[in-house]
Amino acid sequence: MWIALTYNSLVSKDQAVQSSWSDITVEYQRRIDLIPQVMAAVNVSMGFEQSLLTNITNLRTEWLSSLVNSTQENINITSQLDAELNEFLLVATGETYPDVQSIEVVQDFITVMEGTENRIAAHRIFYNDAVEGYNTAVNSFPGNIVAGMFGFEDAAYYQQGT
């Protein structure tokens, strides 16, 4: 009975880790989807450097295709995406084009973009909480006996931005 209970507990914690990771990917998707919307709204696409947009597009494609790969790979790509999106945000928020910032829709965009960034940060925290709970269960006695029997391994923490 103990083996069955511990196994179920490990499975449940593993699913919590997977679920937390999928929450992060949802927020990234939401963040990426905002870009074309605001570009259409303010019609400032000609102001953006083409290379920046190309990089974001490529990273988005890479990120979407990496979702089937390891979590660590996903984390690496999201780190690159963060850098590119932050650069985009700086441009869109008027660092390069101060006139753009006065447009109301851009102000809203800034708020929403900050909101998605904050949600991603929140879900990273929850993801790491889930990983901590799972790894503790996998490594501490007596759960580690069952974990070893059924091949449960440590999950990766999301180090970036924490």
Binding site: M1, T6, T111, E114, G115, N118, A121, A122, T136, G143
Partner: protein
Amino acid sequence: MARVLRWIAVVAVVALVIGAGYLTISALFPGQPERDPGIPTIHPYVNDRADALTQYYEDWADDVCWELDQNNSCEVAVLIVNNTENYSMEYYALRTFQYNGLGKEGKDNGVLILVVTDVRSWRIEVGYGLEGILTDTRVSDLAAEYLEPYVAEENYDEGVLYLTAEIAWILVTEYDGEDAPPSDYPISFIPLTWIHWIIIAAIIIPLAIVTRGRIFWPLLWLISILTGGRGSFGGGRSGGGGASGR
């Protein structure tokens, strides 16, 4: 010799029972990750830890939140602090919301208004269930209109009251308080699933019969200690929704 063997057998059986009990309890109640130090436990509804509010306004804002809770179960809490320890304001608000479980479980209809006096900043953390009404943009606009001008002048009384009242009004008029999805727990305030209850019953009932009921109350006490109590709020969750500013 026979007596010694009998004692060894008894000790072995007792050790086996204790060991099996330990394994079962460790599987039923796995340890929880430690909480961050310095994140406050708050009570419904207004928590002024910076002595920024006069009693009159604090009570008024508290009444507004209480009325709202009675009206449609939304839980709005106010927390005023001098600083956020060594945490970012966003992290402090998120953890405070999470540890105190603002909003009802399953509805996630809580709101935390955090004001940090040392830096005259604010953060409004919105529960999952209210993100459709209190969008990031709307929350930002509300704070810009009802809180920021007053906080800038250190007039926390009016800022907190006006913002709280406006959020309460929006929630009274726009939140329909849909029924929460069914809880995973048959007794909602005790975090044990059906399988847990069945196992506990399978242990308690035979023991109660053997001990003629004497084991029942100590075991019940042990379970209540292990499961712990919930805070005064309803166990809601947030995921970083809301806005912040100064």
